[in-house]
């Protein structure tokens, strides 16, 4: 194999390992702060996988919104809802063993699903300009969900601010 092939495969496995191992720590890290930072690595790993899947716009969006938005929000949430005196935030696990067992079985089902379905694989695609393509689709075929999503955003914004702010009674 040529060097580019080797690099390609090695890069893929690198990102895949980063993703999966960080996800493992999200579940099993006792310290919630560590879990959040593991989630950050998972999200970055997924962005890398998107690049391997020729989804350049999505990779950028993932980093911008998920890592830059959602993760920061989660971090704020954790910092504001723990007593700052304790650095080590212990979280326990309830009913640990049966759940792990059930998850292994579930994974088995999913693997069965993945390997028994006749996927119509056509080989890797090569999207020339996915950003422009996505933009066009959002304005033509997918216009209705686009507009509905904006109403959802507004409603969620109004409601979330109303719930989260300090109590204020109506005069």
């Amino acid at each position: 194999m040529e060097i580019t092939q080797i690099l390609y495969v090695a890069g893929f496995y690198l990102f895949a390992l980063v993703t999966v191992i960080s996800a493992f720590f999200v579940v099993f890290a006792k310290n919630v702060m560590r879990a959040v930072f593991s989630l950050m690595f998972t999200l970055f790993g997924i962005a890398g996988l998107f690049l391997f899947l020729h989804a350049d716009f999505l990779a950028a969006t993932q980093v911008l919104i998920y890592v830059g938005g959602v993760l920061v929000l989660l971090l704020f949430g954790i910092m504001l809802t723990q007593r700052m005196v304790e650095a080590d935030i212990r979280t326990g696990r309830i009913q640990f063993l049966p759940t792990m067992f059930a998850m292994v079985i579930l994974f088995g089902f999913l693997v069965y699903l993945i390997f028994n379905t006749p996927w119509k694989i056509q080989g890797a695609a090569n999207f020339q300009d996915s950003t422009a393509g996505i933009g066009t689709l959002l304005m033509t075929e997918w216009l209705l969900p686009f507009e509905i999503a904006s109403i959802l955003l507004l409603a969620a914004l109004v409601g979330a601010v109303s719930i989260a702010r300090a109590r204020r009674t109506v005069s």
């Binding site: 092939q5 390609y8 893929f12 895949a16 993703t19 999966v20 996800a23 999200v26 579940v27 919630v32 879990a35 959040v36 989630l39 998972t42 999200l43 997924i46 996988l49 899947l53 020729h54 716009f57 999505l58 969006t61 993932q62 919104i65 998920y66 959602v70 929000l73 989660l74 704020f76 949430g77 954790i78 504001l80 809802t81 979280t91 696990r93 309830i94 759940t99 792990m100 998850m103 579930l106 999913l110 993945i114 996927w119 119509k120 694989i121 056509q122 695609a125 393509g133 996505i134 689709l137 969900p145 999503a149 959802l152 955003l153 969620a156 914004l157 979330a160 601010v161 719930i163 989260a164």
Partner: protein, 104 residues
């Protein structure tokens, strides 16, 4: 399954993330950790969509779906965190077993 990445590799990664996410939801006590599990599940679905879009359909429809999923994940995180703050004001804790006054 070859060593070179193909559809199956991505699907397996997504399935792993889904199981991890579900495990986080079911076993973690901290409300925000449950939220992290939800994000893992959503990302697993995203990987599925993009992988199918790349290998099966060769169309950008999957990508558009993922845009909406990312959007909704952000909205849900914001809403969930607003509610978590409200909980914290009342209970001074976000551990789910401690936030359990209703019985039956």
């Amino acid at each position: 399954m070859t060593l070179a990445p193909g559809l199956y590799h991505y699907l397996i990664i997504a399935a792993l993330l889904f199981c991890f996410g579900l495990a986080a939801v079911l076993t973690r006590r901290n409300g925000i950790a449950v939220l992290m599990g939800i994000e893992l599940i959503l990302n697993a679905a995203n990987i599925n969509f993009v992988a199918f879009s790349n290998y099966v359909t060769h169309a950008l429809g999957g990508h558009v779906f993922v845009v909406f999923v990312i959007l909704l994940a952000a909205i849900e995180a914001a809403v969930a965190l607003a509610i978590v703050f409200a909980i914290y004001r009342h209970f001074h804790s976000v551990e789910i077993p401690q936030v359990h006054e209703m019985q039956g």
